[in-house]
Assembly symmetry: C2
Amino acid sequence: MQRFSKKVSMTVVKRLPKYYQYLSDLLENDIEKISSRELASLMGLTASQIRQDLNSFGGYGQQGYGYNVGELREAIKEILGLDSEYNCMIIGAGNMGHAIANYERFKREGVILKGVFDVDPLRVGTVVGSVVVKHMDEIEKFIKNNEIDICILCVPREVGQKVATLITDLGVKGILNFSPLDLDVPGDVVVENVNITDSLFTLTYLLGE
Amino acid sequence: MQRFSKKVSMTVVKRLPKYYQYLSDLLENDIEKISSRELASLMGLTASQIRQDLNSFGGYGQQGYGYNVGELREAIKEILGLDSEYNCMIIGAGNMGHAIANYERFKREGVILKGVFDVDPLRVGTVVGSVVVKHMDEIEKFIKNNEIDICILCVPREVGQKVATLITDLGVKGILNFSPLDLDVPGDVVVENVNITDSLFTLTYLLGE
């Protein structure tokens, strides 16, 4: 599934979802054409950053015309891998697991919630999002039967590594990690951390600056 | 409240919560001394990165001894502004607001939840975390009476900017923003975004790489 021949910097990769969001907004407002300058001003970037970013994926603009919003959005959607569907599961049916399970946006972008898991008897059997919470004992069979691409980890810090090892041993290749720890995973597994405490601490730092 | 004379890069700032976490873990395990090499290996950094990072705040190590874990943790705690208390409020008592309100860690680090606000009559009056949800109509008086430092924004994208303008007009200087949009705020207000959809899209990108 190698989409590009050259390595794109993480700084550019991290900006792609932002492009996707802004272009989607433009389309919703029936704006079909935009110059790099206009897009830059909207996104708080410079026109040359925009051109450089998009050039690193092959470039999509036309001199003197600008970008076709719909085409560029489709291209970025594809670059982000959002032209495919993903089967996902949540481990940890606490407050954060609930919040994620009810996040409409994920489904809209083709990330399909197949299961939610927990070990707490009070949670197992309850409905979270649109699925019934299963016990962790069933996870092996479940991952095998459902071709899970993404696991969303919402477990306490203390068990995060144990659960990560379990699911990667079972073949899961993508983890969206809400548990506040750095996971040690095999080299072919990708992890994206959402560390809310870290974000809070960055904020308290910036407040004191 | 300017703590340092020189501007520290955001890359270093973003690593500080990680230092704080690792040093706290070490202390909990009664490890009182660590070399930059050991700390580096633990954190997946290089020893020279560690020394550079900590030097940018004045340096805390002693040649041939390494770092005193407790002292370094205290220093980073202070740098992060976690030696102060912060009054915080949550706007939006949906699933994400619930998850954040119940996040024990915030309180432990001195971020005190003073109020939760919503406009939904079904939510107003219910208990979230340890507080009773108030209606947005009461927000002006509330912010004035409670010296709110941090507002945690968990509202739908469509109203995010409106709410951000309202609270910054009322004097709030720090926003932890879970609403998936870029906020336009006055120059003296700091915003830290937690954009879960962006993290998901970074993951789908990396899965395809």
